[in-house]
Amino acid sequence: MSIAVIRFPGTNNDDDVMRALRQIPAAKPYLVPSRKGLAGLQDAEGIIIPGGFSYGDYMRAGAVAAMEVISAGIRDLAEDGKPVLGISNGFQILAEAGLLPGALLPNVSARFICRWVYLRVSDQPSIFTENLENAVIRLPIAHAEGNYFCSEDYLIALEGEKRIPFKYCNAQGEITEDSNPNGSIENIAGVINQKGNVLGMMSHPERATRQILGSTDGLEILENFVRAIR
């Protein structure tokens, strides 16, 4: 299962994602610097866009990376049905590229936030959340622009089509205002595209893949991602 892990200038979670994927026997991750363009994606059966600060996030987070040639290649593979996962800055890039609906606004606190959060996994099946339906999982976040927003129409569609796999919640699994770290509409912590093969999430599954780090919940999401490659 060849998985392209994309590194834009300024991406800084690429090593973490590579390391986490290497824990999964079926995964064959390889690093693709974005300058390789479409050629870098030739063998990809799945794509992960890790977090970081692509192009320094000197413009809107993810906006420059979304304009790169390689992003067109990512779109093609997504349309082909290959699984695509954008984590944190990766989610921002997917939203900027129009592969996922909505936008990631600055956190309501107007500050960068790093902390552990709880996510309520939707009870609806998706390729990314197999065996996690309805679970409460614990992952870290680290971002300045993770405040998910979309129009009323989109929101209705996302809810109706069951495309919201994760919502911020408290330790008991209750979706409360207090447990929303960044102001996301409806506590949305991740969204899936219409086809069901592209997931964007602000929290970091790759940072919760070993017991010593405090959680292995992220590993299950990555395992699902690998399993989804057929």
Binding site: N12, D16, R19, F53, G56, Y58, F112, C114, L213
Partner: protein, 721 residues
């Protein structure tokens, strides 16, 4: 500024007048910041060697052998003056520079720490400076992908006109991949790479070696402006160059710019350098003497063998990293700088790097303090006294600050910030703990004792988690060395740290000195509290899980280990109640400190302690509250008798006597724990029990934890928004 005497000596040695460029080079390298001319003479007091020290103080980072073929690296640096003028860029570029010190030894940068001292945040201008400095650190550190693992902060009005921003960067390198800052071989190329050279930071070290004055107009061009994306790309490029072992010598271009970087490389190699300044990639800087001392960020200077040159060029070009071959290593012992073919500087390396005139400095007398407690009176309401301390800016929750730092990138963070130390996993599978401390109030009253005790507090942070101390880095922040009273504080503090390092046999492998932290404000001289910032690293035994300070079980016993004396002078209790600190600060007791350390470590090794805390600022009261505040449990105590000579409840609660710990021990482990304490001839007492109820019950009074949590967590937020 170079003094008349210095200029005279230098001219005499050179045998001719200086060119403009030469003068500016000398001025930069002979600055206090670059030359350590007032401080270096005392470093012999430090313990600097040990079997595991692979590289001591002197280059970018110290290296310490942690086994399995790996070294941990550490650099500690200050960016005080720039942060006072421009907190955002000053603090951010402080992060960048410290990282480059570490990566210049071939290390991967794996952790950061930040130690901040500012004026009280109730004044809006202080709050603004602090939040901008934190944002600078956050924007820069988060972007380059290095986790923040610890830090420390203190507020006092003495930092209002001279804030302190001290940064630690921790690295890791396989022993065979270490790179040295040496230009060994004549004929090798000198390559500059990273950002282009600009006008920012011109003369930064001279700025940092003077008193900030409101009458002198320091042009903001002395402040370095960071570019975190450039740093990240620089790190990625350097990683590729290092992987292929293409670099023969490497130095960060930091304080003193190209003049210092190339000068130091030649000095350590016993060689010379010839630099063509017109080849340096620049942005907006035209004057060659600006180019040579500019402190523009994100630049490195590498020594490359001719056979590796093509490959190096390929990698640099592939990564779009600006670079240029700007000269070569020579064997003549000179720093030769050319511009468009013309020699504009030719200085003996020995004069430039080593020739600084060692100035006479006068050590004044530290005013003696009394041990009188005449100011002390038992508070009417113990509960509200504790609440006042819990919400004091020098004790309260720091998460407003550290939640802005990425703590988890690189996926090695085992213990987040908010405990006694941050813990990282290293590639050899070992866990290392990192902490930093400095109680500038103790140091103000007695710099020697205060420094030694600040170091002892760092030690207890490490030990309470179950790690053994392995190395120290420090950043010594003081006022002007030209003033006897200020110089005395510095010298006494070095004596204190020297004593500690020998007493506990812990080598000092990294450090920095920042003097002239005083300012003329409206004709008044305002100097910082002496602030020797001490960073201590510890290593855990294999398979040991770090012990946190949060209470973890109900119905366990809480033990106080060590004796308590009526040492309230210099305490946070005194500061909060009286509004200032005075008197003799708590004594440094190395023998007791060692005994309690040995007993706690032995108990940890046998798995007897469930949670553990160091007793430090705020005394037992605050140490206990911190154990409960982030836990689900409370406690029920009887504080009427504790070992030592205190004679009131408030003295028991708030004394800051050193060498004490609190330990949570379950009933079944009690006999073994007590026998270990007995073996080490230590006084102890059982303070009470942990409880299911979330209440802090001190016997004579109780505090609802819910309310305490609010006071604690809002301590900074109420000023910072």
């Amino acid at each position: 500024m170079i003094s008349k005497d210095e200029l005279q000596i230098a001219t005499k040695t050179l045998g001719r007048d200086f060119t403009e460029t030469e003068l500016r080079m000398i001025e930069a390298l002979w600055s206090e910041h670059c030359s350590y001319k007032s401080s270096k003479r005392w470093f012999y007091l430090f313990k600097t060697t040990a079997d595991n020290v692979a590289l001591g103080v002197g280059e970018g980072a110290g290296l310490f052998d942690i086994g399995g073929g790996y070294y941990a690296g550490v650099s500690m640096d200050s960016h005080n003056h720039p942060s006072q003028i421009d907190p955002y860029n000053g603090a951010g570029s402080g992060i960048g520079g410290t990282i480059r010190n570490v990566i210049s030894q071939g290390c991967k940068a794996v952790g950061l720490m930040n130690c901040l001292r500012f004026g009280h945040p109730q004044k809006p201008k202080n709050a603004l400076s602090l939040s901008n400095a934190v944002r600078g650190i956050s924007d820069y550190g988060n972007s380059v992908g290095i986790p923040m693992v610890g830090g420390e902060m203190e507020f006092d009005e003495s930092f209002e006109d001279n804030c302190l921003v001290n940064i630690v960067c921790i690295g890791c390198v396989k022993s065979e991949n270490v790179v040295r800052s040496i230009a060994r071989t004549p004929g090798h190329h000198i390559v500059i790479f990273g950002s282009k050279t600009g006008c920012d930071g011109v003369g930064g070290v001279i700025f940092a070696s003077n008193v900030i004055s409101d009458s002198k107009d320091w042009s903001t061009s002395a402040i370095q402006i960071g570019d975190s994306l450039a740093e990240k790309v620089l790190i990625d490029t350097l990683t590729e160059l290092l992987e292929e072992h293409l670099i023969d010598g490497l130095q960060d271009i930091g304080g003193g710019g190209l003049a210092a970087a190339a000068g130091d490389l030649a000095h350590s190699g016993g060689t010379g350098v010839e630099i063509e300044l017109d080849k340096v990639p620049t942005r907006g800087v035209v004057n060659p003497s600006d180019i040579i001392i500019s402190e523009s960020q994100e630049r490195m200077l590498a020594i490359i063998a001719p056979t590796n040159m093509d490959r190096v060029k390929t990698l640099l070009e592939k990564n779009d990293t600006p670079y240029a071959v700007i000269g070569k290593v020579t064997d003549d012992g000179y720093y030769t700088a050319k511009y468009e073919g013309e020699i504009i500087a030719k200085l003996p390396i020995s004069l430039l790097v080593d020739g600084v005139l060692i100035p006479e400095r006068v050590e004044g007398k530290i005013p003696s303090q009394t041990d009188s407690l005449s100011w002390f009176k038992e508070p009417d309401d113990y509960g509200s006294a504790i609440m006042n301390l819990i919400s004091s800016v020098n004790i309260c929750d720091r998460s407003w600050i550290y939640s802005q730092y990425d703590q988890h990138v690189q996926s090695n963070t085992v213990v987040d910030i908010g405990q006694n130390a941050g813990v990282l996993e290293f590639p050899n599978g070992r866990l290392l703990a990192f902490t930093s401390d400095c109680n500038s109030f103790w140091c103000k009253l007695d710099p020697q004792v205060g420094t030694a005790n600040s170091a002892a507090e760092s030690l207890r942070n490490i030990v309470s988690m179950g790690a053994r101390p392995i190395f120290i880095a420090n950043c010594l922040n003081f006022g002007s060395p030209e003033k006897p009273d200020s110089y005395a504080q510095f010298v006494e503090s070095v004596r204190g740290l020297g004593r500690f390092s020998h007493d506990f046999n812990i080598p000092i492998i990294g450090g920095n000195v920042s003097l002239y932290n005083e300012a003329l404000v409206d004709g008044q001289n305002r100097r910082i509290n002496p602030s020797p910032q001490i960073m201590l690293a510890g290593i855990f035994k294999e398979k040991f899980s770090p012990i946190k300070r949060n209470l973890v079980t109900p119905w366990a016993n809480i033990f106080l280990v060590g004796e308590t004396f009526p040492e309230l002078n210099g305490s946070e209790f005194q500061r909060v109640i009286v509004g200032e600190v005075k008197g003799e600060p708590p004594k440094y007791r190395p023998n007791w400190e060692k005994k309690t350390m040995d007993a706690i470590l032995e108990s940890h090794d046998r798995g007897l302690i469930r949670s553990c805390n160091n007793v430090g600022r705020g005394g037992i009261a605050i140490a206990l509250m911190k154990m409960a505040l982030r836990s689900e449990y409370g406690f029920k105590l009887n504080m009427e008798y504790i070992p030592g000579t205190v004679n009131s409840l408030a003295q028991s609660l708030f004394s800051e006597t050193s060498s004490r710990y609190l330990a949570e021990v379950t009933e079944s482990n009690q006999p073994e724990f007590l026998s270990i304490l007995e073996k080490h001839e230590l006084a102890t007492c059982e303070l009470g029990l942990t409880t299911l109820e979330p209440t802090a019950d001190f016997g004579r009074f109780t505090i609802p934890l819910e309310k305490a949590k609010m006071e604690f967590s809002d301590g900074l937020g109420k000023y910072l928004g």
